[in-house]
C-alpha cells in the first residue's frame, strides 16, 4: 500500500541536486541511467555538479540545451541513481493528485502535493503546460512532477499566477530525440 511518504521516498531517489557555476541550486530528473533532464535556466556553464540523494556530488556535462524550450540534458558518468518511471501520454486528468520533488529555497528533497489544475496553454496559441494547483519555489526548477503512482508526468519549470507549470513528458522526449539523445 503506497502512502505519501513512500511516494516521496521513491521520487527522492530519481531526483538530483544541480549546482552550476556556484549559482544556487536546481533540481533534475534521472531520465535514463547517467542521463539527467533539467531546465535550461538551471544551467550556467558546460559543466555542473550533480548530487543524487545521499550521494557525493559528481561532475556532469551538458549534452544538449534549448533556452526557448527551457530544457537541458546532462550526461553524468558514475551517477548511481535509478531512472524515473515515466507516465505515458494523456494520462493526467484534471483533479488528479500530483506530487513535486525538489529543493525549494535550498531545502533538499522537499515534497509538495496538489492536483492537476488544467492541461494546455496559458495564453491562446502558447505552448502546452501541465498546470498544477501546487506550491513550487525557486529550487524546484527541473525537478519531477509525478502522479499518485510515482510516475513522472512533467518537469517543473516555473510559477505563474500562483500555478505550478511543468513541461509534459512528451515534450521532453521530443527534445531528447531532436538533440540526438534518444531515450527509451
Amino acid at each position: 500500500m503506497m502512502d505519501l511518504a513512500t511516494l516521496a521516498e521513491r521520487l527522492r531517489r530519481i531526483t538530483v541536486e544541480i549546482t552550476s557555476d556556484g549559482r544556487g541550486t536546481g533540481a533534475g530528473v534521472v531520465w535514463a541511467p547517467e542521463l539527467i533532464v533539467t531546465n535550461a535556466h538551471v544551467i550556467h556553464g558546460p559543466r555542473v555538479a550533480v548530487r543524487g540523494a545521499g550521494c557525493s556530488p559528481v561532475e556532469g556535462f551538458v549534452v544538449a540545451g534549448d533556452r526557448a524550450a527551457d530544457l537541458a540534458l546532462l550526461r553524468v558518468p558514475g551517477l548511481e541513481c535509478p531512472a524515473a518511471v515515466r507516465a505515458g501520454d494523456g494520462t493526467v486528468a484534471v483533479g488528479a493528485l500530483i506530487v513535486a520533488l525538489g529543493h525549494p529555497l535550498g531545502v533538499p528533497g522537499a515534497v509538495t502535493r496538489g492536483i492537476v489544475h488544467a492541461v494546455g496553454a496559458i495564453t491562446p496559441g502558447g505552448r502546452s503546460w501541465i498546470q498544477a494547483d501546487l506550491k513550487l519555489a525557486p529550487g524546484n526548477s527541473g525537478g519531477p512532477l509525478a502522479d499518485a503512482c510515482g510516475r513522472v508526468v512533467g518537469v517543473n519549470a516555473m510559477i505563474a499566477g500562483g500555478l505550478a507549470l511543468a513541461i509534459p513528458v512528451s515534450e521532453v522526449q521530443r527534445f531528447a530525440r531532436a538533440a540526438g539523445v534518444p531515450v527509451p
Binding site: 484534471v94 483533479g95 488528479a96 500555478l163
Partner: protein
C-alpha cells in the same frame, strides 16, 4: 488497492463530473467568471462578477455560447441568478451544506474545467456582515475566474459557491443551502426580493456600558438619520434612535444592518434594541420587501 491512487482517481472523477455543470460567465471585462447550472435553465454565479445586466452570455463545456438574462441578484450573499436555455446541459447535483465540517476535503472548480484542492478551514467568516454567519472559509486557492464556481465535496456534490468578492485574500464559499433559498425565491416570485426596514443610518460611537445593556457589548452602532414614510420602520423607529442590535445580533455599521435583513425574513417580526433618550428599549418591527424602484 492503492489509497493514494484511489484518492487521485476520485478527485479526477469528481472534477470531470462537476465540469459538466459548469459554464464560463461573460459579465465583466477580461477574465470570465464561473457559473453553475443549478436548476434547469437557472445558472448561479457570484453577483460581484456581473458588472452589467446587459449583453450577458455564457459558454457551455461544449464550447457553445448563448445569451442569458439576470433574474435576480442578492448582493448581501454575493449571488446572482441567470436564466438561459440550457436544456441540453446536465443540472448540478447539489448536496446538503449543513453536513460540511471544518477539515473536510473539497475541490473548487473553474470553467474549463480547472481545479483547485484544499480543506474547509472554518465555518463562519470573520466578518459579521452576513447575518446567516455560515460562510465557509477555504484553505485552498481561488484562481482568477473561479468566483461563482462550485465548491465540491468528496462525493462530487456541490456544497457551495466560491467567491473572492469580499477580498482577494479571503477565499470563501457561500453554502449551497443558502444559495437554494435564493433560487427558491426566484422560482416562486420570479425575482430575488430585497428585505428592508426603510431607514437610512450612519455609524456612531456609543457611550460606554450602553452596549452591555443591549447584550452586545460593542462600542459602535448606527444612528437613524431618516425614516421613510410608509416603511416598516415608520411603525416604531424615530430619527435619532440608535440601533444597537437586531434580534440580539450586534449592528456596528450600516452594512451589518443590510446583512441582517435576509430575503427569507420578509414578513417576519424582528426586535430592534434601540437607544432612545438615554434608555435601551426594544422595538418590534416587521421586515418588509423593498418596493421596486423601477428601471
Amino acid at each position: 488497492m492503492d489509497r493514494l491512487l484511489d484518492l487521485s482517481d476520485q478527485l479526477a472523477a469528481a472534477a470531470q463530473r462537476v465540469g459538466q455543470w459548469v459554464l464560463a460567465v461573460h459579465g465583466r471585462p477580461r477574465v470570465p467568471s464561473t457559473g453553475i447550472h443549478w436548476r434547469s435553465g437557472l445558472i448561479v454565479t457570484a453577483n460581484h462578477t456581473l458588472q452589467t445586466d446587459d449583453d450577458l452570455s455564457v459558454t457551455r463545456p461544449t464550447g457553445e455560447s448563448s445569451r442569458v438574462t439576470v433574474v435576480g441578484r442578492d448582493p448581501g450573499l454575493d449571488i446572482a441568478i441567470l436564466r438561459g436555455d440550457d436544456s441540453a446541459m446536465a443540472v448540478a447535483e447539489v448536496g446538503d451544506s449543513d453536513a460540511v465540517r471544518v477539515g473536510h476535503m473539497v475541490l473548487a472548480l473553474g470553467a474549463g474545467p480547472r481545479a483547485s484542492w484544499g480543506v474547509i478551514s472554518a465555518i463562519g467568516a470573520a466578518s459579521s456582515r452576513r447575518a446567516d454567519g455560515e460562510l465557509f472559509s477555504l484553505d485552498l486557492r481561488l484562481y482568477p475566474g473561479f468566483s461563482g464556481g462550485p465548491l465540491v465535496d468528496a462525493r462530487g456534490s456541490v456544497v457551495g459557491v466560491n467567491t473572492s468578492g469580499a477580498s482577494r485574500h479571503l477565499h470563501l464559499a457561500i453554502p449551497a443551502n443558502a444559495v437554494n433559498r435564493v433560487v427558491d425565491a426566484v422560482v416562486r416570485h420570479g425575482r430575488v426580493p430585497q428585505a428592508y426596514l426603510g431607514v437610512s443610518t450612519q455609524q456612531i460611537r456609543v457611550p460606554e456600558g450602553v452596549g452591555e445593556q443591549a447584550g452586545v457589548g460593542r462600542s459602535r452602532a448606527v444612528i437613524v438619520v431618516e425614516v421613510q414614510s410608509g416603511s416598516p420602520a415608520a411603525a416604531g423607529l424615530l430619527v435619532g434612535d440608535v440601533i444597537l442590535a437586531l434580534d440580539g445580533i450586534a449592528i456596528a455599521d450600516p452594512l451589518d444592518l443590510r446583512g441582517a435583513l435576509r430575503p427569507e425574513r420578509i414578513g417576519q417580526p424582528v426586535t430592534a434594541s434601540v437607544l432612545r433618550a438615554g434608555r435601551v428599549i426594544e422595538v418590534s418591527l416587521t421586515v418588509g420587501e423593498r418596493p421596486d424602484r423601477g428601471r
